[in-house]
Amino acid sequence: MVRSQVLICGGTGCTSSGSPKLQAEFEKQLELNGLSDEIKLVRTGCFGLCALGPVVIVYPDGTFYSRVEEKDVQEIVEEHLLKGRPVERLVYADTGEETAKAKVETALNETRFYKAQNRVVLRNCGVIDPENIDEYIAMDGYAALGKVLTEMTPEDVIKCISDSGLRGRGGGGFPTGRKWALCAPNKAPQKYVVCNADEGDPGAFMDRSVLEGDPHCIIEAMAIAGYAIGATKGFVYVRAEYPIAVKRLTIAIAQAREYGLLGKNIFDSGFDFDLQIRLGAGAFVCGEETALMTSIEGNRGEPRPRPPYPAVRGLYNSPTVENNVETFANVPQIILRGADWFASMGTERSKGTKVFALGGKIEHTGLVEIPMGTPLRTIIEDIGGGIPNGKKFKAVQTGGPSGGCIPNSLIDTEVDYDNLTAIGCMMGSGGMIVMDEDSCMVDMAKFFLNFTVDESCGKCTPCRVGTRRLMEILEKITSGKGELEDIDRLESLCQYIKENSLCGLGQTAPNPVLATIKFFRDEYVAHVVDKKCPAGVCKDLLTYVIDKEKCIGCGMCARNCPANAIARTDYTAPGHKLASFAIDAAKCIKCGACLANCKFKAISKQ
């Protein structure tokens, strides 16, 4: 009899921070203590709290340990698992209840990180062993497929998805039910269902976590989509840089075939469906649906003009439905729990939940799933734990390089498709990068634009050349050579690129520039007119200065200066024994080493 289960996070974040070693150590310690038969170790998918990984949870009591190290395992096994005394110092709590007892007794779902979340897409992540189909089935897995194949017509399925209000989670927000409905009537010898798992936004890992933590739900959803539109073949296009996701998906497909949940005559219904994995080589543009299909076909991943839309002529010129991982992950539960249940979550035109990958200047870097309509403030301050080091929140970038930034003045915006679009941002696939007061918004625009400049496939002129020219204007501005007209040039070129590019990548590439100009025009003006970077980021516009009155003459700055730009002066400030130092601006490379090494706060950047 197993009396207790220890769940160890096997997501990519915790794997990087050492969870495989933890698992080995647990196995060893359980063996030493003769507990191997009583305690079951489970390697799960992502829990979401990646910043505090590796995380371990012990059931049945639900004790949640964070930042567990190899050396802590012996203590957990001997104290908690053997003697029933949780190791208080490792228990995670963020509710402010600092007494040891309270920490242990606080239910995980009552913590600030989890309280405002509603895990629909991620319901099995961190709960089941993703490499074991039985655990998925135990969580009602494949029940939706069974229901669809035995009780519903394809039209019923499409109606259910349409009624639920589910919209594509990959960025565009196209209604999923309508997409399926457009494809279903098209006659063709072969149709396809494609899962877009080519998650490419910098800092985004929502889809990876679903594939790693709950791969079967994607398989189930794709089979349901296949039934709905009349497709018998599916492809999952997943980045080769996601080895754990690929491995677990491969295992899951094999298990599903073994159980007869993929292949011929599923559930004796006469419906055939099977899946193949295609590995993407990492080009961002392959996340664009037509480029993705071109890549599956074995060609260089480049977008094709639309129309014709994939629903009419997609993969191998056949009618195709393509949805992203998170969209599919919602499908089985919509089928099982009903369209009304799903539509009860969220806002008027954005139903359900959305998974975000929180990153940047935020305490709880990680994966969060919130109902649509949750205020941005809740995500950043409550779930995310606010900004580290007492810094002030400045803006958050949603939608990655295709999105825009949301400034502090709009932090109470309720997050859904329409609200974000209305302020010139986009939902995107769910990357959310937080910036604090030390971030320069012109520099941020450069950062995101640089990504698209680099990732442009080079097919159409506006994106291939235009984004590069935008970048060069931004570089001119941040190097102090900008003119006021450059801001107009930026806006005009941005507008041109938006309207004239071939695919979504190019059409949205100027968004980071347009949004920062819209909300932080004063910063652009400061760069151009005052030749200053208010956040102190753009090196060419910075000067490091030593306050000769504060300098005690210790020389730490000069010793750490890699450019030998700092020398002692002949001035000794009143009250100090040694002459102070000064920086030769001509030699200074603005690395900041002096500032970092001055213990007396005598150095500042201006």
Partner: protein, 588 residues
């Protein structure tokens, strides 16, 4: 017949009704508006990449920019093709292209024939509107036939499509972003790839990025050398196309003006490759008969097209024995010039420079092949294209349109109608059938037009009836059609063909890789292959001698020079060649 649903829309306020599925670009043509394009090639390159063809379209939700070359019309749609916004967008696109372009337009080989230059002029572009990084590329000059200068490439990918249409597909995009460039896999040099030298890419390139290797300096140098006698010959297809270089209508036959122009350029003799074409027919017909009688390899395939020959050597090396060993007509005539004619004229062949004006860039490769030097000197020293001849005539200040019609020089220009039609796909086959019919029936047949092998289809099959003896033949043009034929041969010739004509370029020599440029919209709206071929068939119909074996030149040659007869002795040595199996890729 299915009747297409008609769609009604307005273009610049003018109502137009077109079948469903029509693009805005095609619908605009109906109203007399030619929307500019750069990347678009009808049914060949519909990729919407260059963004020059953008228009504003309103489908009920306000005007927005769409790409007219691929965007289908819809009921009630309103289109503006020249609004201020559209013009600004096109101008910006052109200026962005210019910012990565090597702007040496004053001396560029494509200047005044450049589609990009023309648009930049029309849209009043500022060539310095954008500055910044632009990649610099080395020129690929590794082959005998063409030069790739990526510094002038605008990435329209028409060359990629042309190469794909040829089933060779050695061209594609490398790298990404602003470094995106068109080239061979892994940036290999062209000479190390299975390029068949057809030059179709040079015909479709809208700029100076892909051009034939310019051999006109060699010709000018030879003409300026007092110790050399420079002899020129022109292929059958040149007379049907050279006029286009000077703005004449496609399909204008300019044989007389061409001869006049060549004489004014200073060539010592102006000969006609037609004479060599007749020679080819008698040699080839003889080879075919011998193969049939002696159990040789059948079907036999023509070898006039060096692009096709290289395709066969590279892709179907095991089937080389099917190739006729006959040299191509201009090589045969070159060999005759440096032997028979040189002796008659008392000229040392070392003092002769033979120049061929060809519709073809592969001829530049062919004349440098081994086993193409019968008299101990290259049969042909320099092969230039129709375009290069056009440029020479321009430089020499010759007013082409005003020239009188003159004759070629005797005797290596006496030709027949059979030779004239060599320039069109099916022409060689028809010429061979005319001779075979007479020889096999022993009659002077008068019904000599074989319409089953005419037309611009890529692959044509026919059955010839020589007084009861039936022979199945096939005619292919374009390497893609050649592939179909060769795959069938590899599968054992299930259709029972005996004789096959293959040309490397779609439509044959009239559409060769060295022919004059036409802007893509002309290529999309005029069937150049058919129009140019018609000029040749018309000339054939007006001629008295229409069978190669009746050529007085051929008769004289075999009675005076190749006295051992067709394919024997010296005729075999001088007029036949050999082939090599080629690796597809050569490691660099």
């Amino acid at each position: 017949m299915r009747v297409d649903k008609m769609i009604n829309l307005e273009i610049n306020g003018i109502p137009v009704s077109v079948p469903a599925g029509t693009t805005i670009l095609e619908a605009a043509r109906k109203t007399g508006i030619e929307i500019p394009t750069l990347c678009f090639m009808k049914e060949k390159n519909e990729i919407g990449a260059c963004r020059i063809c953008v228009v504003e379209a309103n489908e009920g939700r306000g005007y927005r920019i769409v790409t007219s070359c691929v965007y289908p019309v819809s009921e009630g749609m309103k289109v503006l093709t020249n609004s201020a916004k559209v013009q600004k967008a096109r101008k910006t696109t052109l200026e962005l292209m210019l910012s990565t372009h090597n702007k040496e337009c004053l001396s560029c080989i494509r200047s005044t024939h450049c589609e990009f230059q023309k648009l930049c002029q029309e849209y009043g572009t500022d060539e310095n509107a954008f500055s910044g990084f632009r990649p610099i590329y080395e020129l690929d000059t590794t082959t005998a036939h063409l030069v790739r200068d990526n510094n002038k490439c605008i990435l329209c990918r028409r060359c990629v499509a042309a190469c794909r249409e040829q089933f060779v597909s050695i061209l594609g995009a490398n790298d990404r972003g602003i470094d995106t460039n068109i080239g061979n896999a892994f940036g290999m040099s062209l000479v190390n790839t299975p390029c068949i030298s057809c030059g179709q890419c040079t015909v479709v390139c809208p700029t100076g990025a892909l051009t034939e290797k310019d051999d006109t300096p060699l010709v000018w140098a030879a003409l300026a050398d007092p110790t050399k006698k420079v002899i020129v010959q022109t292929a059958p297809a040149i007379r049907a196309t050279l006029g286009e270089w000077f703005g004449m209508e496609p399909g204008t036959n300019v044989e007389g003006k061409m001869a006049a122009a060549l004489r004014r350029l200073g060539f010592y003799r102006v000969f006609d490759t037609d004479a060599g074409a007749d020679l080819t027919i008698v040699e080839e017909a003889n080879e075919l008969v011998e193969r049939i009688q002696n159990g040789g390899v059948l079907p036999m395939i023509t070898s006039c097209s060096p692009g096709w020959v290289k395709f066969c050597e590279t892709y179907y090396g095991d089937l080389i024995p099917h190739l006729s060993t006959c040299k191509s007509p201009h090589q045969m005539l070159g060999a005759v010039i440096k032997s028979y004619w040189a002796q008659k004229e008392g000229i040392d062949p070392k003092d002769i420079v033979t120049v061929s004006v060809m519709p073809c860039v592969a001829k530049k490769f062919e004349c440098k092949r081994d086993d193409q030097n019968a008299a101990g000197y290259p049969d042909v020293d320099i092969a230039i294209t129709t375009r290069e001849l056009g440029r020479m005539i321009e430089r020499a200040g010759i007013n082409f349109k005003a020239l009188p019609n003159e004759e070629f020089d005797s005797p290596l220009s006496e030709d027949t109608g059979a030779a004239v039609i060599f320039g069109a796909t099916g022409g060689v086959m028809e010429a061979a059938l005319r001779t075979a019919n007479d020889w096999l029936t022993g009659k002077d047949n008068t019904d000599i037009e074989f319409h089953g092998v005419r037309g611009t289809a890529g692959l044509k099959e026919s059955e010839a009836n020589f007084g009861g003896l039936k022979v199945k033949v096939a005619v292919a043009s374009g390497a893609a059609a050649a592939k179909v034929v060769m795959d069938k041969l590899a599968a054992g010739n299930p259709d029972g063909w005996t004789f096959i004509e293959i040309m490397g370029c779609p439509g044959g020599c009239v559409n060769g890789g060295g022919q004059p440029y036409q802007p893509q919209w002309v290529r999309d709206t005029v069937d150049l292959k058919a129009v140019r071929a018609k000029a040749l068939y018309d000339q054939d119909r007006g001629m008295t001698l229409r069978k190669s074996h009746e050529s007085p030149f051929v008769k004289a040659l075999y009675s005076e020079w190749y006295t051992e007869g067709f394919g024997k002795g010296e005729a075999h040595h001088a007029l036949h060649t050999s082939y090599v199996k080629r690796e597809k890729f050569v490691q660099e």
